[in-house]
């Protein structure tokens, strides 16, 4: 495949954004015919900018794009589609209330002579295409009835239907279960046989090694290396990506569980739309122990966590902290008792983005001595706030030009470090961490994992929720699987096989 002319060549692509960031620095990339080419890099390395240039969403400052050896200019997505480039975004661009067929033909509807939609022909063609590619998708079904994995296949179908020969997938596995990931991989291999060339963007090393024919690593806007999977390994790729040696294996060490610190009994709770999402959860976490909850997103984990920290009122059940019933206490009262919480969505919950760093570092402790004092704790004390912010920024390696910048200017990893630094205080009893490393790069993940383990070793009870099965498996001393509002399985760390847990996550049943 590499002997033939590449179907796509990007030569010397450079893009500098206003403000001076050099997002792409003369990048060369080529895609062979029927090749799966992985683009690997940390967040902000320039992968997405490069692909946006290819798709016509961003105009490059320099460089040339050639398709089948002929130079082309791509001025917008319409140009890109016309030249056979298809893109599957990380967040799906589907209309939930329309059928699969309607979504696929949207914008290129088939009409009969008098301008009436001909959905029957559309459905037939889509079914033929799906059969050829080995998809099991019913064109008549509404998209909001599909799982995320199936929706992704609809996105791919949409691109292929529009004649894509070059398919770009932006972090396609981020939202999938392990089973779904395996399925999408077989879909991609089928597409390759069918004549499609694929660019696969990811920062997951194992996946890249499994699926790609070639891996190109980008760091700070530059190509730093290109490898065949057979000639490399995860450690080398991680080092290329981050620029230094990174420990990928979490060294969890031995846990020394003490007494039960957090206990949840018969908990039931509604979500904001008044659906019962937590349907009788029982769990307990001992001090000095990490209990991980594995589950596909949307199975009640968020609501469970919100109940534990006091953001949501359960309608049945009890939550106890070291034997004391805290079910009815406020968020503030629970914090005072030693519960800390790293929320899943740092920008929506964990930070006030326009605030400068010091205010964000004390966001959940703003009313405590010494950050407030005088007039009965009414007046804020700048000096203690600033010195605490300085100390935490240093201890947790938050990188910013100064403390006096808005949290919105920090990278995702540094934003998360601000939240983690604030919540990982020393007098904790229970630490609730929800998706602690979502969207972070390898270096930040390593750092945050070490901090979680350090807290456990200091005797804190840690409740971990993550959609990343590997994260749950790597960090947890005990693993619970949550499915449709219930805990459907418990594994000791040693017995938790990836496949078994994954199957339970996907089906709620432990089939063999």
């Amino acid at each position: 495949m590499s002997d033939k002319t590449p179907v796509l060549e990007m030569r010397g692509i450079s893009k500098r954004f206003p403000g001076g960031t050099l997002a792409n620095d003369s990048i060369d990339l080529d895609l062979g015919d029927r090749e799966i080419h992985a683009l690997l890099g940390e967040n902000g390395a320039g992968k997405t900018t490069l692909m946006n240039i290819l798709y016509g969403l961003v105009t490059p400052d320099e460089g040339e794009i050639r398709i089948d050896a002929a130079p082309v200019t791509i001025q917008g997505p319409a140009d890109a589609i016309a030249r056979g480039i298809g893109m599957v975004h990380q967040h799906f661009m589907l209309v939930p209330v329309l059928s699969v067929a309607e979504n696929v033909v949207l914008g290129q509807e088939i009409t009969s002579v008098d301008g009436v939609l001909d959905m029957r022909t559309a459905e037939r063609r889509i079914r033929e295409l799906a059969d050829r590619l080995g998809f099991s998708v019913d064109p008549g079904v509404r998209v909001n009835q599909l799982s995320l994995g199936q929706q992704q296949r609809v996105e791919i179908l949409k691109a292929i239907y529009r004649g894509a020969r070059i398919l770009v997938l932006d972090e396609p596995t981020a939202v999938l279960t392990p089973q779904e990931t395996r399925e999408i991989f077989s879909v991609l291999r089928r597409l390759r046989e069918d004549g499609t060339s694929i660019i696969f963007i990811s920062h997951k090393l194992d996946e890249v090694l499994e699926i790609a024919d070639r891996v190109t690593v980008i760091r700070r806007g530059k190509v730093v290396g290109s490898r065949k999977p057979a000639q490399t390994n995860q450690d080398e790729l991680a080092e290329l990506m981050v620029g230094r040696a990174v420990s990928l294996r979490v060294d969890r060490g031995q846990s020394h569980p003490g007494d039960v610190a957090l206990e949840v009994v018969g908990l039931r709770a509604l979500d904001d739309r008044r659906h019962e999402m937590v349907r009788g959860v029982e769990l307990s976490v001992r001090s000095g122990e990490i209990v991980g909850i594995a589950g596909v997103g949307g199975n009640g984990q968020d609501e469970l966590v919100e109940c534990v920290v006091g953001l949501r009122k359960p309608f049945a059940g009890t939550i106890r902290l070291a034997g004391r019933d805290i079910t009815r206490l406020s968020v503030e009262a629970r914090r005072d008792l030693g519960i800390a919480y790293v929320p899943a969505d740092r920008q929506r919950f964990g930070l006030v983005l326009p605030y400068l760093l010091p205010d964000n570092f004390v966001l959940t402790r703003y009313g405590e001595v010494p950050y407030a004092g005088g007039l009965g704790g009414f007046v804020r004390q700048d000096q203690p706030i600033r010195s605490e912010a300085g100390r935490l920024a240093k201890e947790f390696d938050v990188r910013s030009s100064s403390l006096d910048v808005a949290a919105s200017t920090l990278s995702g990893g540094n934003q998360q470090k601000v939240v983690v630094a604030r919540e990982f205080r020393h007098d904790l009893k229970v630490l609730v961490v929800d998706q602690p490393t979502r969207g972070l790069d390898v270096g930040s993940i390593e750092f945050i994992h070490k901090q979680v383990i350090a807290r456990r070793d200091a005797g804190v009870a840690v409740l971990l929720v993550s959609a990343e099965l590997d994260e749950v498996l790597d960090l947890s001393d005990r693993i619970l699987v949550m499915y449709r509002g219930r805990i459907v399985g418990t594994f000791a760390s040693a017995e938790a096989q990836r496949e078994k847990v994954g199957l339970l996550m996907a089906t709620g049943e432990a089939r063999t």
Partner: protein, 381 residues
């Protein structure tokens, strides 16, 4: 020199758009004046705006009397601007300043009249306090409704503005009408009037207004309550997560906002009007919104914005007398200022100001109030 610039930098970054908006508003209004001059007796006069603006300035600042008029007009606008501004800080758009102003003015008039013969040191503070508390109660109603039921404060306060005007008309007619006048009005406030500090009419209200600016600024910047108000406004989810009670803060902020609006009414009543009669102008209510936006919800910014709008009111009569440019030009300028603040893209294009990194939340609150929902917060890496 560099150090001073370094200190001024952030202030200028915040003030640049309002200042440029004012400049642009004057320029566009000048075009209107030039065009309309062609249809008047004086004939086409391209220099007319210059003359008019000079007279406007002279009227506002050219004499002791002018300055006094400016300060007298600015004082209620400071209170009203603070009322709107503190609401915007908490993500609330209090359009009800007009109603709260009337309630405050009415209550101050009634209590002031009841204490008309008591010493000023007793009657005036009690009348002020009563006006402020009445405004607070009237602000608490939409605050409570918002906190408990989610009823949008823009809708409820608009309704309550009408309710206030009509209820007070009834009250003046049937409950507290003073005898001996040919029209319904309250009795004289007598000794309860705000003392005159200087000149003919410069009353104590401006001192109260400046004090209020400093107090509100202190609360917002230095206290935990201010931190809670700002956090609820900037990110209510994070506020809840941090253990704050957005419901309580919402109701409390609307109450404080109403208190300030009520005080605006009280000082206008006790310093300028002297009695309540149906149909007294509540234009302060709507000008307050403009003042708060021009001041970027910052108390010091509101102080300057109120002075500017006060100067417009004080200087306009001289402009009209000496150049025949009608007072209504002031309304055009004020409206244009707000237009340019809202459409700041125009200002940025004209003056080449770079967009801020973080969304300006008070404008987001206002534009989001019309059912569109608050746009997502500023750009994120």
């Amino acid at each position: 020199m560099r150090r001073r610039l370094g200190r001024l930098g952030p202030t200028w970054a915040k003030a640049s758009i309002p200042v440029y908006s004012i400049v642009l508003a004057f320029a566009v209004a000048a075009v209107v004046v030039i065009i309309s001059s062609a249809f008047t007796a004086t004939g086409f006069d391209p220099l007319l705006p210059l003359a008019a603006y000079l007279r406007l300035f002279a009227g506002a600042f050219g004499s002791g009397n002018g300055i006094a008029n400016t300060l007298v007009a600015a004082a209620p606008l400071m209170f009203g601007g603070l009322a709107v501004g503190i609401g915007l800080k908490a993500g609330l758009f209090n359009i009800g300043v007009a109603g709260q102003f009337l309630v405050g003015a009415f209550t101050a008039a009634v209590i002031g009249a009841a204490l008309a013969t008591a010493p000023t040191i007793v009657g005036m503070p009690l009348a002020m306090l009563a006006g402020g508390l009445a405004g607070a109660v009237y602000g608490f109603i939409p605050g409570y409704l918002k906190a408990r039921t989610g009823a949008h404060e823009v809708v409820t306060t608009i309704m309550l503005n009408n309710a206030a005007a009509l209820l007070l008309t009834w009250a003046v007619n049937d409950l507290v009408r003073a005898p001996g006048f040919s029209f319904p009005r309250t009795a004289d406030i007598g000794q309860s009037a705000l003392p005159i500090l200087a000149g003919r009419n410069l009353h104590l209200g401006i001192v109260f207004a400046i004090a209020a600016v400093l107090v509100i600024r202190w609360i917002l910047v230095r206290t935990t309550l201010g931190f809670e108000i700002r956090t609820v406004g900037a990110n209510p989810n994070a506020a809840r997560y941090a253990g704050m009670r957005p419901i309580f803060i919402t109701a409390l902020t609307m109450t404080i906002s109403g208190l300030l609006a009520g005080l605006a009414g009280a000082i206008q009543m006790l310093g300028v009007i002297g009695f309540y009669a149906p149909g007294i102008t509540a234009s302060v209510g709507f000008d307050s919104i403009a003042v708060a936006l021009l001041g970027r919800s910052d108390p010091i910014g509101i102080l300057f914005a109120a002075l500017l709008f006060g100067a417009f009111r004080a200087g306009a009569p001289l402009m009209q007398i000496e150049t025949s440019v009608p007072i209504e030009v002031i309304d055009i300028i004020q409206a244009l200022v707000i237009l340019f603040l809202a459409a700041d893209l125009i200002v940025r294009k004209v003056f080449r100001v770079r967009a801020p990194k973080v969304e300006i939340t008070e404008m987001a609150t206002v534009t989001g109030s019309w059912g569109a929902g608050t746009p997502p917060p500023g750009t994120v890496s």
